[in-house]
C-alpha cells in the first residue's frame, strides 16, 4: 500500500508546511506535550469549543492529511488509541466521585468513548463508510494498519484514513509516573539516551495517513508490510521475528538502508534494541525517534511519519546523509508486550 499523505501533530514542529525537523524542539522534564496549531484554520470554531484537546489534535491531523491528498470522503476511517479520550474520562470520573453520582452532565461522558475521534471525523465529512477503532495498547496503531491493508486487499476500499492518537493528561501522567515509567530529576528529551537511568519520558501525538492500494505517482512512500508479535520470550525470538518478517518480503537485512528503532532511554526497555544492534542490525545504520515524541503506546504512528519523511527526502535530521535510502525498517516495542515491525520503500 502507498502513503498518499500525512498529518502529524506532535511535540515537534511536524504540522503543516514546515521544514523537516530542521531543529529539535527541546522539552525539559519528563513530559513532552504536543505543539498545537491554530485549530480555527482547520476546524469550524463552533465545533472546537466542545472538543477536548485530544479530539482537536486527532480531528485536525486527520483533516490536514485528507486535505493534502485532496480526498473528502475516504473509503474507511480507522483509528488506533490505547487510552482513548483520557481527559474526558478523567473529568467525568472525577465529577462522579466528587459529587457522589449526582448533578452530572453528559458532555464529557459522550466524548470519553474511545471511538470519538473516528466518529467526529466521519461526522465532519458526512462519511458513511467503514469506521473502526482499535484500543489494543501498544499495537493499536498497527492493528489499524493491518485493518487498512486487508480492506485494500479485499477491494473493499481504494483509500483508507488511518491514525494513531494518544494524549497525556495531568491525571494519567501522575498515575503512570507512580508506576515508575518516567525518569526522575532534571531530564531533557535531547539527552534521553545518555542518562542510562530507569524510566523514559512521556509523550503524546496524533499522526494520520491516507493509504491507497494504487500508486498515484506522487506518494510519500510505499508501506510494504506491517506486523506485530506478542510477548516474545527471548531476544532470539525477536531476532527470528525480524528475520522472518523480512524473508516474507523476499528480503534480508542487507536490503535495508536504515533501521528506525524505539529506544526510550530506559535501560531495561532498551536492552533488546542493544542486542539487535550487536547482532542482526550490526551492519545497518540505526537511528532513534523517541527523543522527538516521547514514549506512548501509539508512538509507532510518529515513527511511520518519520520513516516516510526520511525515505521521501533522503534527509536524516541531525544525521549524516545516507544515499540512496531505499528501504527503512521500523522496529518498536511497547513495554515488551506488543512488538511491531513496519517496512517502507521509496516510491
Amino acid at each position: 500500500m502507498y502513503i498518499r499523505s500525512k498529518g502529524n501533530i506532535s511535540p515537534q514542529k511536524t504540522f503543516g508546511n514546515v521544514p523537516f525537523l530542521d531543529e529539535v524542539v527541546v522539552h525539559e522534564g519528563n513530559r513532552l506535550s504536543c505543539l498545537t496549531p491554530d485549530y480555527k484554520d482547520i476546524i469550524d470554531p463552533k465545533l472546537i469549543r466542545r472538543m477536548s484537546r485530544v479530539i482537536k489534535m486527532g480531528v485536525a491531523s486527520a483533516m490536514a492529511c485528507l486535505q493534502d491528498a485532496g480526498v473528502t470522503n475516504p473509503d474507511a476511517i480507522i483509528t488506533g488509541t490505547a487510552y482513548g479520550c483520557l481527559d474526558d474520562t478523567g473529568v467525568f470520573l472525577s465529577k462522579m466521585v466528587e459529587r457522589g453520582e449526582e448533578l452530572l452532565t453528559p458532555t464529557s461522558f459522550i466524548q470519553s468513548t474511545h471511538n470519538t475521534i473516528g466518529a467526529q471525523v466521519a461526522l465532519l465529512l458526512h462519511c458513511n463508510n467503514y469506521n473502526n477503532t482499535f484500543v489494543s495498547g501498544g499495537s493499536s496503531f498497527e492493528c489499524s494498519l493491518l485493518d487498512a491493508q486487508m480492506l485494500l486487499q479485499e477491494g473493499e476500499a481504494k483509500n483508507v484514513l488511518v491514525g494513531g492518537i494518544d494524549e497525556i493528561t495531568d491525571i494519567s501522567h501522575s498515575i503512570l509516573g507512580r508506576f515508575g515509567l518516567y525518569k526522575q530529576g532534571p531530564v531533557s528529551n535531547i539527552d534521553l539516551y545518555d542518562t542510562h537511568s530507569k524510566g523514559t519520558i512521556a509523550g503524546e501525538g496524533s499522526a494520520f495517513f491516507l493509504l491507497t492500494a494504487e500508486a498515484s505517482g506522487n506518494d510519500v512512500a510505499k508501506l510494504d508490510a506491517v506486523n506485530t508479535f506478542y510477548k516474545p520470550a527471548t531476544f532470539a525470538e525477536v531476532e527470528n521475528q525480524v528475520e522472518s518478517f523480512l524473508r516474507a518480503q523476499g528480503l534480508s537485512m542487507y536490503d535495508i538502508s536504515l533501521v528506525i528503532a524505539g529506544h526510550n532511554g530506559d535501560a531495561q526497555n532498551d536492552a533488546v534494541y542493544h542486542y539487535l544492534e550487536g547482532s542482526l542490525f550490526n551492519y545497518c545504520n540505526v537511528i532513534r525517534y523517541k527523543h522527538l515524541c516521547g514514549e506512548y503506546p501509539t508512538s509507532s504512528a510518529f515513527a511511520l511519519w518519520y520513516a516516510a519523511q526520511i525515505v521521501k527526502t533522503s534527509i536524516i535530521p541531525g544525521g549524516a546523509p545516507i544515499t540512496p535510502i531505499k528501504k527503512i525498517l521500523v522496529y518498536n516495542h511497547y513495554q515488551n508486550t506488543f512488538h511491531s515491525l513496519m517496512l517502507l520503500s521509496a516510491c
Binding site: 472525577s94 462522579m96 466521585v97 466518529a119 461526522l123 462519511c127 477503532t133 499495537s139
Partner: protein, 401 residues
C-alpha cells in the same frame, strides 16, 4: 485462503445465565435477567433496574480462575471465551495460528473507580493494582494469556457495536490467511461510570425496558460477555463435532449524523444491513429472523425500525430484541447476540421480545412475543449500532445438510 468462515464454538455469560445452556434455557422460558441492582455499589440502586450477572466478584473469581482483585470485565470475558474455546473442541489448538479479538468499552473501569476515590483525596494514594488494568486492551491481554493465545491479540472499541466489529475483524483475519482460528466477541462489566453516563443522557428506563414498543421509555443496562470461535474451511473440515453455522455476511457503516443519536431515517443501520446482505449474496426476503439492536430508547428503535421498513418492506422477517432479557450490555452486546444468533441459525430458534404490548404506529411490523422453533429458518441478521454512528450487521447462515 478461506472463502467461508464457520462458527465452531460459542460461549456466553449474561444476566440470564453463566453459560450457553443456562442462557438458552432462560430464553426458552421467557425468564428475563433484569432486576434491582444487587452487586454494583451505587446511589441509583433503587432507581434503575439492570441485568447484572448474578455472581459476586468473589464468585466470578472462583468461576474464572483469576486471582482476586481482577476487573469484573476480564473475569466475565474469560468465562465466556473459555467456553467458546472448549466448545469448539479443537484438539491441536496450540499448533494453529490463533487469535483473540475482544471488544469492550469500559476496560478495568470498575477497579479504576475504586482507585479514584482515594486518588482524588491524595494523588499519592490509591492502590496501583486497581489501575494497572484500566486500559481496554489490558483486559483482552489478561484473557488471551489465560487462553494461551499468542499469535494475534487485539481489542476493538466502537461503543455498542464493538463486538460486531471484533467478529468481522476476526473473520477477515481468517479470510486473509493470517489466522486459522479466532475467538471473537466482547465483554463489559456494569460500572458506575457507564450507569451514570447513560443516566446523564436520560435514556435509562426506571422500569423494565420495552424494546420496539410504542410506549417504550428507554434502556436497561446489562453486563456480560459473548464469544464465538471462528474457523477457516481447512480447520472446519478436521473438526469431529458439528459446526453451528457460517458467518456469511457482515458490514460496517457509519451513520455520520450525531455523536450519540441515530439519524431519523436510519442511514447507518440501513447501509450496514444492506451491505451484509450483499456480501452474503442474499435478498431481504431470505432473512428469517432479525436479532434487533433494539435498545428500547425512542431514538434507536425509531431509527432501526425505519431502516428495516426501507429495506424489508413488504417481506418482514420475524424479529426480536434479546436485550429485553439481557439488558444492553454495550461492548458485549454483539458478542452475546452473536451466540444467540448462531444458535438460531443452527436450530431455528426465534426468541421472544419480552414485555411487548403496543406496536409502533409507524412500523408495519411487530416483534415476536414467544419462543418458537422454525424448521425453515436459514439466515439470521444481527444488528448492533452505537455512539459515534458506528453501525454493524452480521449474518449467520444455516449449514446445508
Amino acid at each position: 485462503m478461506s472463502k467461508t468462515v464457520f462458527v465452531a464454538g460459542v460461549g456466553v455469560i449474561s444476566g440470564i445465565g453463566s453459560n450457553t445452556a443456562e442462557c438458552l434455557n432462560a430464553l426458552e422460558n421467557s425468564r428475563a435477567g433484569i432486576d434491582k441492582i444487587k452487586y454494583l455499589q451505587t446511589i441509583h440502586q433503587d432507581t434503575f433496574p439492570v441485568a447484572e450477572v448474578k455472581l459476586s466478584n468473589d464468585e466470578l473469581a472462583q468461576l474464572s480462575g483469576f486471582g482476586p482483585g481482577i476487573s469484573r470485565t476480564a473475569m466475565l470475558s474469560l468465562i465466556a471465551a473459555r467456553e467458546a474455546k472448549n466448545d469448539a473442541g479443537i484438539e491441536n489448538f496450540g499448533s494453529l495460528r490463533t487469535g483473540f479479538i475482544s471488544a469492550n468499552t469500559v476496560g478495568g473501569m470498575d477497579k479504576t473507580e475504586e482507585f479514584f476515590v482515594q486518588f482524588m483525596a491524595n494523588p499519592a494514594k490509591g492502590k496501583l493494582r486497581n489501575v494497572v488494568n484500566h486500559e481496554c486492551g489490558k483486559v483482552t491481554q489478561l484473557v488471551a494469556d489465560e487462553l494461551g493465545i499468542k499469535n494475534y491479540v487485539s481489542t476493538i472499541s466502537t461503543a455498542c457495536s464493538s463486538s460486531a466489529n471484533a467478529i468481522m475483524y476476526g473473520a477477515r483475519l481468517i479470510k486473509n490467511n493470517i489466522l486459522d482460528v479466532v475467538i471473537a466477541g466482547g465483554t463489559d462489566a456494569l460500572t458506575r461510570f457507564t450507569l451514570n453516563g447513560f443516566n446523564t443522557l436520560m435514556i435509562l428506563d426506571n422500569q423494565y425496558c420495552q424494546p420496539f414498543d410504542a410506549n417504550r421509555r428507554g434502556l436497561n443496562l446489562g453486563e456480560g460477555a459473548g464469544y464465538i470461535t471462528l474457523v477457516s474451511e481447512r480447520i472446519a473440515a478436521t473438526l469431529p463435532k458439528q459446526l453451528y453455522c457460517m458467518l456469511s455476511g457482515y458490514c460496517n457503516a457509519n451513520d455520520a449524523y450525531h455523536q450519540t443519536a441515530s439519524s431519523p431515517d436510519g442511514t447507518g443501520s440501513f447501509m450496514a444491513m444492506e451491505g451484509a446482505l450483499k456480501m452474503a449474496g442474499l435478498k431481504p426476503q431470505d432473512i428469517g429472523y432479525i436479532n434487533l439492536h433494539g435498545t428500547g430508547t425512542q431514538n434507536n428503535d425509531n431509527s432501526e425500525g425505519t431502516a428495516i421498513k426501507r429495506l424489508f418492506n413488504p417481506h418482514f422477517p420475524k424479529m426480536s430484541s434479546t436485550k429485553s432479557f439481557t439488558g444492553h450490555t454495550l461492548g458485549a452486546s454483539a458478542g452475546i447476540e452473536a451466540v444467540f444468533s448462531a444458535l438460531s441459525a443452527q436450530q431455528g430458534f426465534i426468541y421472544p421480545n419480552l414485555r411487548f404490548e403496543t406496536q409502533i404506529a409507524e412500523h408495519p411490523f411487530a416483534p415476536e412475543t414467544s419462543f418458537t422453533q422454525q424448521a425453515d429458518l436459514n439466515h439470521v441478521l444481527s444488528n448492533s449500532f452505537g455512539f459515534g454512528g458506528n453501525c454493524s450487521s452480521l449474518i449467520f447462515s444455516k449449514l446445508q445438510a
